[in-house]
C-alpha cells in the first residue's frame, strides 16, 4: 500500500506541475499580454511600461517559476480588474462554489442511489424505465437551457424561488437541481450495474439459502459491495461539477469561482483566470488521488498494476 500510495502521489504531483505550466502558458495564447492589457488606445510607451511593471520583459520560464513559486505560497498576484490580491477574491468566491458542488452531489446521490438500487432489483419495470429515461435526457439536455427552463417554471410561472443571486439558501435550490441532475446518470448506471452483478453472485445466493431477510441481504451484503465504485465515481463527478459550474453559476448569477472565471475571461484579467484554472485542476487532481487511494485500500488487486 505504501508503494502504491507513493506512486500515485508522484503521478499526481507530476500532473499538477504540467497543468500549472499549461494554465500559465494559456496567457500567451492571446499573443502579447501587454498589448491585450493596454487595450487599443495604448501607446508604445504605455505598452513598454506595462511590460516592465507586470514582468513580461522577463524570459517566460523565469516568469513561470516566479508565478508558481508564489502560487505555492498562496499568492496568485494582483487581479488586474479588482486591484486586490487574487487569493483574496478567490477566498470570497470559493464558498459559494463548494456549497453548490456539495449540495449538488448530495442531491444526485439521494436520488440516483435508490433509483439505481430499485432499477437493479426490478429490471424492466416502470421505475427502471424512468431511471433510463432520466439519464438519457440528462445526456441530451444543455445544462444552461435546463437551468433557464427551470427558472421559467419556478420563478416566473409559479413564483416559488428567486431567479438569480447568492443571498440565501433559496438561491441555491435551482442550481443544485440542475448541477446535480448531470451527475445522476453516471452514479445511477454504476449503482444499477454494480447491484445487478452483486445480486447474481454466489454469496447472495448463499445468504438467500440461509433464509436471511431480503432487506438484510440487500443492505448488509449487496449494497456495501456495489457501492465501492460509486464512491470513487462520486469524487470524480464532484471534480467535474466544479469545472462545469462556470455555466450554471453564470445562468443563476451565483457569485462563485465559475462566475468569477467567466467575468475575468471577459475582462482579460489573466492572473485571476490562471489562478481559477489552477485551483480547479488541483482540486480535481486531489479528488482523483483520494478516489484512487480509497479504491486501492478497499480492493488490494488494484495496487498491483
Amino acid at each position: 500500500m505504501l508503494i502504491y500510495t507513493l506512486k500515485r502521489l508522484a503521478l499526481a504531483v507530476a500532473v499538477a506541475l504540467v497543468v500549472s505550466a499549461l494554465s500559465f502558458g494559456l496567457l500567451y495564447l492571446s499573443g502579447d499580454p501587454a498589448t491585450a492589457i493596454g487595450g487599443e488606445a495604448a501607446t508604445d510607451a504605455d505598452i513598454l511600461f506595462i511590460r516592465k511593471t507586470y514582468g513580461f520583459d522577463q524570459p517566460i520560464y523565469t516568469q513561470y517559476l516566479t508565478w508558481i513559486g508564489k502560487a505555492l505560497r498562496g499568492d496568485f498576484g494582483m487581479s488586474y480588474y479588482f486591484r486586490v490580491p487574487v487569493s483574496q477574491i478567490m477566498a470570497a468566491r470559493l464558498p459559494a462554489t463548494l456549497i453548490l458542488g456539495f449540495s449538488a452531489i448530495v442531491f444526485a446521490l439521494v436520488f440516483s442511489l435508490p433509483l439505481g438500487v430499485i432499477a437493479a432489483i426490478r429490471p424492466n419495470t416502470w421505475i427502471d424505465r424512468t431511471a433510463l429515461f432520466l439519464s438519457v435526457m440528462g445526456q441530451a439536455m444543455p445544462s444552461f437551457w435546463l437551468g433557464l427552463m427551470l427558472m421559467v417554471l419556478l420563478s416566473v410561472w409559479l413564483p416559488l424561488l428567486p431567479p438569480s443571486g447568492t443571498e440565501g439558501w433559496e438561491y441555491f435550490v435551482m442550481p443544485t437541481i440542475v448541477l446535480g441532475y448531470y451527475a445522476m446518470p453516471a452514479i445511477m448506471r454504476l449503482t444499477r450495474a454494480g447491484m445487478m452483478e452483486v445480486l447474481a453472485s454466489d454469496y447472495i445466493r448463499t445468504a438467500r439459502a440461509k433464509g436471511l431477510l431480503s432487506g438484510s441481504i440487500l443492505f448488509k451484503h449487496a449494497l456495501r459491495n456495489a457501492i465501492i465504485p460509486v464512491v470513487s465515481v462520486s469524487a470524480v463527478q464532484f471534480g467535474f461539477m466544479l469545472g462545469g459550474s462556470i455555466v450554471i453559476e453564470t445562468v443563476f448569477a451565483i457569485q462563485g469561482m465559475g462566475y468569477l472565471a467567466w467575468e475575468s475571461i471577459k475582462r482579460s484579467d489573466f492572473p485571476t483566470v490562471q489562478a481559477v484554472i489552477l485551483v480547479f485542476a488541483v482540486i480535481y487532481i486531489v479528488l482523483t488521488l483520494a478516489a484512487d487511494l480509497l479504491n486501492g485500500w478497499l480492493d488490494p488487486r488494484i495496487r498491483v498494476t
Binding site: L22, S23, P163, G243, T288
Partner: protein
C-alpha cells in the same frame, strides 16, 4: 414423375451474416428512430437556403418579437415568430442546424484523429510509450475542460473555426481511452503476430490490421463525441465565448433570448428543444450502432 422441390441455399445455410446485420439494424427501434430524426435534421440543414422563408440575418425593427404560431397574435409569414431584432426565427433555426452539425462533424473528426492515433499507438506498443500516453491522457482529464475551452476562446477571440479547433484539440480523451483498451484486446490475437512475422511494416499493421478491427468502437465514440461537441458549442456560445453574433447558433439564440425570459420564454424554448432533439437523435444512433455491431455486449 414428381420432382421434390430442392430447398433453396438460404434454407439450408440460414441467413448470411450480412442479412443478420441488416435484420439487427432494421429491428433496432432506437437506431431507426434516431437515424430518421438525424436524417431529417441533416436534410433540413442542407436545404436551409431553399426552406427558409426569410434571410436569417435580415433585421427589421418594426417586426421585433412577433409571437410563434401557437399564439393568437402570430403572423403567418413568421411561423416561429421573430427575435429581438426582428429576424425570422424559423430561418435562424434552420441555419443554426448547419452550425451545430458542422461543429459536431468537424470536432468529432479532429479529436477522433488525435485520440485514435494516441490510443492505438499506446495499445499496440505498450511499455514506455503506453506510460507516456497514459500520462498525457491523465493530464488532459485533470484540466477543467469547460473552463479551459472558455478561456482559450476568450483569449484568442471567438469564431466558428476557433471553437472547432479548441474543442477538437480538447475532446480526444474518450477516443484515446477506448481505442487504447480496444487495441490492447486485439493486440495478441493471432493475426497481429502473423502480420509481424511476414514482415509487415508497423504502419501497415496499425492501419490495415488494427484500425479496421477497432472501427466499431471508434464509430460509437465518434457519435457520442459529436453530441458532446454540439452541447459544448452551445454552452460556449451561450456564455458569449463561442460562435459570435450574428451567426445563427442555437446556443447563441438561447443566450439572446434569455433577456426576454419573463415574457417571451418561447425564445429560449425553441432553440433548446432543437438542441435536445438533435443530441438525443445522435445518442440514439450511437447506442444503436453499439448494440448492432456488438450484440454480445448488450
Amino acid at each position: 414423375m414428381e420432382f421434390r422441390q430442392i430447398p433453396a441455399a438460404e434454407e439450408i445455410l440460414g441467413p448470411s451474416p450480412g442479412q443478420l446485420l441488416r435484420r439487427r439494424i432494421f429491428g433496432h427501434k432506437g437506431l431507426m428512430i434516431g437515424g430518421a430524426i438525424l436524417g431529417i435534421i441533416i436534410l433540413l440543414a442542407l436545404l436551409a437556403p431553399l426552406l427558409s422563408p426569410h434571410d436569417p440575418y435580415q433585421q427589421s425593427l418594426v417586426k421585433r418579437i412577433s409571437k410563434p404560431f401557437w399564439s393568437p397574435d402570430s403572423k403567418p409569414e413568421h411561423p416561429l415568430g421573430t427575435d429581438h431584432v426582428g429576424r425570422d426565427y424559423l430561418s435562424r433555426l434552420l441555419y443554426g442546424a448547419r452550425i451545430s452539425l458542422l461543429i459536431g462533424f468537424c470536432v468529432a473528426l479532429i479529436s477522433g484523429v488525435i485520440g485514435t492515433a494516441l490510443g492505438v499507438v499506446a495499445g499496440y506498443f505498450g511499455g514506455r510509450v503506453d506510460m507516456v500516453i497514459t500520462f498525457i491522457i491523465t493530464l488532459r482529464l485533470s484540466l477543467p475542460f469547460v473552463l479551459v475551452a472558455v478561456a482559450v476562446v476568450g483569449l484568442v477571440g471567438g469564431s466558428l473555426q476557433v471553437v472547432i479547433l479548441v474543442l477538437g484539440l480538447l475532446l480526444w480523451n474518450r477516443y484515446a481511452v477506448v481505442m487504447r483498451s480496444a487495441t490492447q484486446q486485439i493486440r495478441n490475437q493471432d493475426y497481429i503476430p502473423a502480420a509481424e512475422a511476414v514482415g509487415c511494416s508497423t504502419a501497415r499493421i496499425l492501419l490495415s490490421e488494427i484500425l479496421p478491427n477497432v472501427l466499431n468502437s471508434l464509430v460509437v465514440v465518434a457519435t457520442l463525441e459529436m453530441a458532446n461537441a454540439i452541447l459544448l458549442e452551445a454552452a460556449l456560445s451561450f456564455l458569449g465565448l463561442g460562435v459570435q453574433p450574428p451567426t445563427p447558433s442555437w446556443g447563441l439564440m438561447v443566450s439572446e433570448g434569455k433577456d426576454f425570459l419573463f415574457f417571451e420564454p418561447w425564445l429560449i424554448t425553441i432553440p433548446g428543444v432543437a438542441l435536445l432533439v438533435l443530441v438525443l437523435a445522435i445518442n440514439l444512433v450511437g447506442d444503436g450502432i453499439r448494440d448492432v455491431t456488438a450484440p454480445e455486449n448488450r
